[in-house]
Symmetry: C3
Subunit: 315 residues, 3 copies
């Protein structure tokens, strides 16, 4: 299929074919990243503005690395929204960025909908690197791409997402992508963090860990945000670990071949025990590696790159 989107705002609007097209291109890039010279000229001459208006180190680094591997020039704006916009509206910020004539914009912003809003104002591609509690599409793509390196297909596969689901953009994007790819998704965790309303997204809601793990082909842990502990929804860290932390004993509830995933950084001893994080069934570092190839694919496709051109350059 031909990729026709200018932007990647979220997984929700994508078709299964579009998601699979990204994976095809990402596979090509992953092969290139295994070579000694890892850089391709695909985006030579293009300037990408990485507009990170919410703190981020890892996602920013991954986008910078992806752009660098594609030979793009990258300008990263690190600012909390307040200092960048100085009281300015998001619309003004967007129009200003547009006026700079960047070739592409990667946006991280605390406001849900900000990436979509920006994409409607500017003519150039906008990639959502996380917009509040809305979506974090490239995280879901790298997660599912990693699963597909272990399974031929996600059709019928059982994926449990475990943790603080309520405001998680990672969970939301994964629910969209996994269900489109045919997986059966369960969200699990304390009832305050995993309300029944998630069922409307086509997933099972489970509050008992053993049930959540029993049939899972993949268990995807979310990072516990320490800063959320003061919220009324959130139990204490110790309470969370005692009820939902994955330790050796509980890992036995999993099928032996089940994969353990985590978007990082891990709180060892909180969401997961050290031994398990480092065990064979953990694919956490594969996720990091795949974050470059999948982001390269997104940057490439949204700037009009074609799969056939990639095949030729990869030779």
């Amino acid at each position: 299929m031909e990729w026709t989107r200018k932007d990647l705002i979220g997984i929700e609007p994508l078709s299964r074919e579009e998601i699979e097209a990204i994976f095809t291109v990402a596979s090509g890039f992953k092969r290139i990243l295994g070579r000694s010279v890892k850089k391709v000229p695909a985006l030579r001459g293009k300037t990408i503005v990485n507009l990170f208006l919410e703190p981020s180190t890892r996602t920013k680094l991954a986008f910078e690395m992806a752009a660098s591997r594609l030979s793009a020039d990258v300008i990263t704006v690190n600012a909390d929204a307040s200092s960048f916009v100085k009281g300015e509206t998001l619309k003004d910020t967007a129009r200003n960025i547009c006026a700079l004539n960047a070739d592409m914009i990667v946006l991280r912003h605390s406001a849900p909908g900000s990436a979509k809003y920006l994409s409607e104002i500017v003519d150039v591609p906008v990639i959502n690197a996380g917009d509040g509690s809305h979506e974090h599409p490239t995280q879901a793509l790298l997660d599912n791409f990693t699963m597909l390196e272990h399974f031929d297909s996600l059709e019928g596969k059982k994926v449990t997402i475990l943790g603080d689901i309520l405001f998680s953009r990672v969970a939301r994007s994964n629910i969209f992508s996994l269900t489109k790819l045919g997986a059966e998704v369960t969200v699990a965790g304390p009832a305050t963090l995993v309300p029944k309303t998630f069922e409307s997204m086509g997933v099972k809601v489970v509050h008992d860990l053993k049930t959540a793990l029993a049939d899972a082909d993949v268990v995807m842990l979310l990072r516990i945000q320490h800063e959320r502990q003061s919220s009324t929804h959130f139990p204490s860290l110790g309470e969370y670990t005692s009820m939902f932390g994955i330790n050796k004993a509980r890992a036995k509830w999993l099928k032996p071949e089940a994969l353990i995933m985590h978007p990082g950084p891990i709180n060892r001893g909180v969401e997961i025990d050290s031994e398990l994080a480092d065990s064979d069934r953990s694919v956490i570092l594969e996720q990091v590696t795949n974050g470059i190839a999948t982001r390269m694919a997104v940057l490439y496709l949204c700037t009009g790159g074609s799969m056939s051109a990639l095949e030729n350059s990869a030779e």
Copy 2:
């Protein structure tokens, strides 16, 4: 004419011919920025150090973008002066930077005169990106370049600069450039922020808004710096807006074809009403766009680029 300066420290020392030479080159670059490949090899192999020792997001971004479009390598130093110099004198900082053998230095610094001082110590070009309350020459260049896209000439044109003039490097640089280009400049605002002493710079000083707007071909609003409100010179924000904010009623005092400018970011509802900022007479976003082309021109000329070479590369 041939550009012979190594540095751009301020508008004050420039001749009208030099300013116009910058605009000619900027026009060439603006045409290139309208193409699909916006990058030219003019500064390939050169490393520019962006030394921002005073917080800045937008000017820094614009200089990074300009350098990137010229194929220069850019290294940006973000530091408040205190952490960079660690008690070191400006002279030591300057000599250290010189010893690094950068090909060009863009300096933002809180001390008036710092850019000139640096330029006398180092052999390579120094571009002033704002030195305290002294000058911000590239801002004036982009402002006047924008005006010249609307008027054939600034000869006899009436430009009103409105706001907190007293310590404004933007106002100072614009007064220098506009008067050199033949415009008639009025500075306007509360008497505490716009003292009569500005008349010595060859401009009219007006404290009544209606008079200030009456004949203007251009009204250039300055950004109200919230942090200046504690100063004894400064009225409250509400007081300022009630007396000098541009709203729909007051905009009728302007000629219908008068341009409204602002260096951004706008405080909507303070210096200007939303509707007017977005109206046809506002050229605020054109200013942002032109900030890239004019800065490219300055970087290019100060590293010895010639206009004829540009013409050839633009073909």
Copy 3:
């Protein structure tokens, strides 16, 4: 000799021949840096991650400049360890970085041993840009390279390192390199900062300034860290200056041809008087310049660059 190391973790494990091999390559790069086009294609296509998990401006800038001159792509991560790792272990951070598939990592970290630890986990070259109180090998290399521009050999040369030796990684790395190169090293300063135990490193320990300066061919001042003043080891700044600050009168205790060095930034009037810092015998700015060439040499050799290839490219 052929350089075979993947990493530069410290000076301690290097042989004299290895140190001299770095200097040979650095000399080649210094010649290139004197040309109009200062950039070589040696690391084209490589992406270096500058992981600065402890604040640094100058060393970071020097590494960025060195990488830029070698045509590498550079991604700099500025973060205090706490925000980057978010409670994650160094091992996890290391493995995550490894998973990103950078071609090379430059690490500054507050933990002694962190660079070695990282180098054992990742397959790509790791360059130590300062690991706590352990080593700062590129600083010692640039210091000794600078000395060798003034002396044919360091064999038998007397070098006095003066100041807060106790926790200084600069002193440690210099002690290792200088003794390997045949110099006789004296460490000097207040007894609390320069304990007798340093004698086990093969250096003389002196607490009297006149004695420390008497025979020195080089006196290397360390920067007084203001933040260390609250420590029980440290005298007041005034007390330090009155006893160990180098002023005009005390400089007479030095041989007329002795060199004065300082890693910068200088506290004028504390470790050294202004006049002396700017005098002919001060080579402080040469140190800064040589910091680029020596770091280029290290980056180049650790990525497998050969001296013969350099000779060809330098023609």
